[in-house]
Amino acid sequence: MASAYSKDLLLTMYRKMYLMRRFEERTQQQYGLGKIAGFCHLYIGQEAVAVGVNEAVRPDDYMLSGYRDHAQPLARGSHAGMIMAELFGRTGGYSKGKGGSMHIFDIEHHFYGGYGIVGGQIPLAAGMAFASRYRNEDRITVCYFGDAAANQGAFHETLNMAVKWKLPVLYICENNRYGMGTAIARVSAVPEIHKRGAGYNMRHEAVDGMDALKVYEAVKDAAAYIRAGNGPVLMEANTYRFRGHSVVDPATYRSKQEVEDERKNDPIPRLMHYALKEGLAKESDFEAIENEIKEQVDEAVKFADESPEPSLDELWRDTIVEEGEEDVRPRARVLGEKVDNWPSYPSGKDLKVTWDLEPREQAEKADKAAGLKS
């Protein structure tokens, strides 16, 4: 089994997880310095989920998330400096500083945003998956949400439609066990979120969210199932956030012992130990990565610091699309780089819609069964 993984894959995963961790530690520090404000929800502890998911799906699959959304785009390959600049509220940010911590959007990397209303992104993901079916594309949509979102009506309404219409969407519930300060078991009739898929006849499973390789395997399998046209999957990744709900939350609602126990499961050393044990990498490989990342994060902070605040006339942009107005390509705008993987779609009559959502014969059969005339 060990040889199933290449050195390249393991080091890529390690590099990305290490980047997320160091990036967010610096985020917390910059918050303390007053450079970052607002709510700022860190992902520290959950890195195995983002990296396991990302490496198992295609770069052009759609992806979107909730408000704990700095790390997932890093896994996609988003520019760390531009995410940091967004957190700083600067023009070099992905949204020119207009979205901030909870709203990272990087369309070039098919990351369709972080959303601040719990569960509000769940129907959006179904719509993006719907569009893929409509256009006969084989891409899937990956939607992250937290355990608490599973108690929102949006979750239940969407699962019902996603199954009924076989939408190619992978719902990843990152169960970190707390909806803000409330332990999920205290407010949930069924705290094992994935089991709720059963009520919608939806494929559902749980995975150890502290193990990047387990997440990777589970998602690879689920993505293949979805891409083959079988409909959606609900996957619960059991994970843990080492910090509070947001950077200002001391998290006194849980015991020191609990956090200490969970820290023993830290996904980053876990992956490293695995690779060393299997002889797939050497200590020096990791040291080199860590040094590189430290430098990259320093550069990200410097990049954000040097980026100017948006000018006041930005107030009047990006609310209504004016006729003929182009979409903003952040990488081109900020870095002057050519963006060639910006999504484009067939328009007008070029688009052939062949998806038959409810074949006539099937509908007539259902009518007959119900004793209705056809």
Binding site: E157, T319, P330, P343, G348, D350
Partner: protein, 328 residues
């Protein structure tokens, strides 16, 4: 020109736009096999199939959000609300997502979607089914809001809304669906944001939209017989408001009455008054008067229901008040 019902004009707009652009699809409760709760989508399932005319379960938040997600990646959904009363359940998706996507993404995303359905008081349906909610949506930057009165406007504005790259909220009049009027065939597109002088006059301007337009016409006819010349300005689009048209008419007649079906507090009419008093104060010969629904919940009882809504006699009284005539 063909004479069509308001619902037929909407149907024609939908069919033409779906024909023109395969990215356009319709989703909502009972839009397909049932042929539409108010028959706006009559015949569209046969024409376009179940891939594009989609019967949704009763889950307004869910299917509205699904539409928004589809729009984020280039489709052009038309989401039918069986009535705007039910859309209150979907408001999070319209307001927190659709209206804000472009801003929060710093201009990376657009959301070309139309949310449409009947609004306003129905016939004896009591509080939960009788609400004119236009001002609620007009409040939010990032949305456009339209409310056509006539079949021709309904067609022209819906076509423009479907082609617009922004989220558009469309209020149809539940009591207007069977109203008939001449509707131009084919490419009849009315730009969003343009009000329409439906009746020329010189003594007073009635500013209104949607179903209230017909009460204004009734009042205008009666006032005409008393020698009072009434201009009727149909706003048609409530966001953005056509300030130029409002000011031009007020500068011409020097008096204005605003007729709005909804409640007075924070109504669209309040904003219109602000526009007039701040930009055309010197042109006014009298304070602007508003005729609105009463500030109460809608009753089932016939006499109470009537008393709550604006009507021609209330408009006539308001016009006489701004003209300093008897009985005001």
């Amino acid at each position: 020109m063909a004479e069509l019902m308001y619902r037929e004009a909407l149907n024609q707009a939908l069919a033409e736009e779906m024909e023109r652009d395969a990215n356009v699809f319709l989703i909502g409760e009972e839009v397909g096999r049932y042929q539409g709760a108010f028959k706006v989508s009559q015949g569209l399932l046969d024409k376009f199939g179940s891939a594009r005319i989609i019967d949704a379960p009763i889950s307004e938040l869910g299917f509205t959000g699904l539409g928004v997600g589809a729009a984020m990646v280039g489709l052009r959904p038309v989401v039918e609300m069986m009535t705007w009363n039910f859309a209150i359940l979907a408001m999070d998706q319209i307001v927190n997502n659709a209206a804000k996507l472009r801003h929060m993404s710093g201009g990376q995303l657009r959301c070309p979607i139309v949310f449409r359905g009947p609004g306003g008081a129905g016939g004896r349906l009591s509080s939960q089914h009788s609400q004119a909610l236009e001002s609620t949506y007009a409040h939010f930057p990032g949305l456009k809001v339209i409310a056509p009165a006539t079949p021709a406007d309904a067609k022209g504005l819906l076509k423009a809304a479907i082609r617009d790259d922004n989220p558009v909220v469309m209020f149809e009049g539940e009591r207007l669906y069977a109203i008939k009027g001449e509707v131009p065939e084919g490419e009849h597109v009315i730009p969003l944001g343009k009000a329409d002088v439906k009746r020329e006059g010189k003594d007073v301007t009635l500013i209104t939209w949607s179903r209230m337009y017909y009460f204004c016409e009734e009042a205008a006819k009666q006032l005409e017989s008393e020698g009072i010349s009434v201009e009727i300005l149909d706003l048609r689009t409530l966001r953005p408001l056509d300030e130029e048209a409002i000011l031009a008419s007020v500068r011409k007649t020097n008096r204005a009455v605003i007729v709005e079906e909804g409640w007075p507090l924070a109504g669209v009419g309040a904003q219109v008054v602000d526009i007039i008093q701040s930009k055309a104060f010197d042109d006014l010969d009298a304070p602007v008067v508003r005729v609105t629904g009463l500030d109460v919940n809608m009753s089932y009882a016939a006499n109470l229901e009537n008393a709550i809504q604006p009507d021609a006699p209330k408009i006539i009284a308001a016009v006489k008040k701004v003209l300093y005539r008897e009985g005001a």
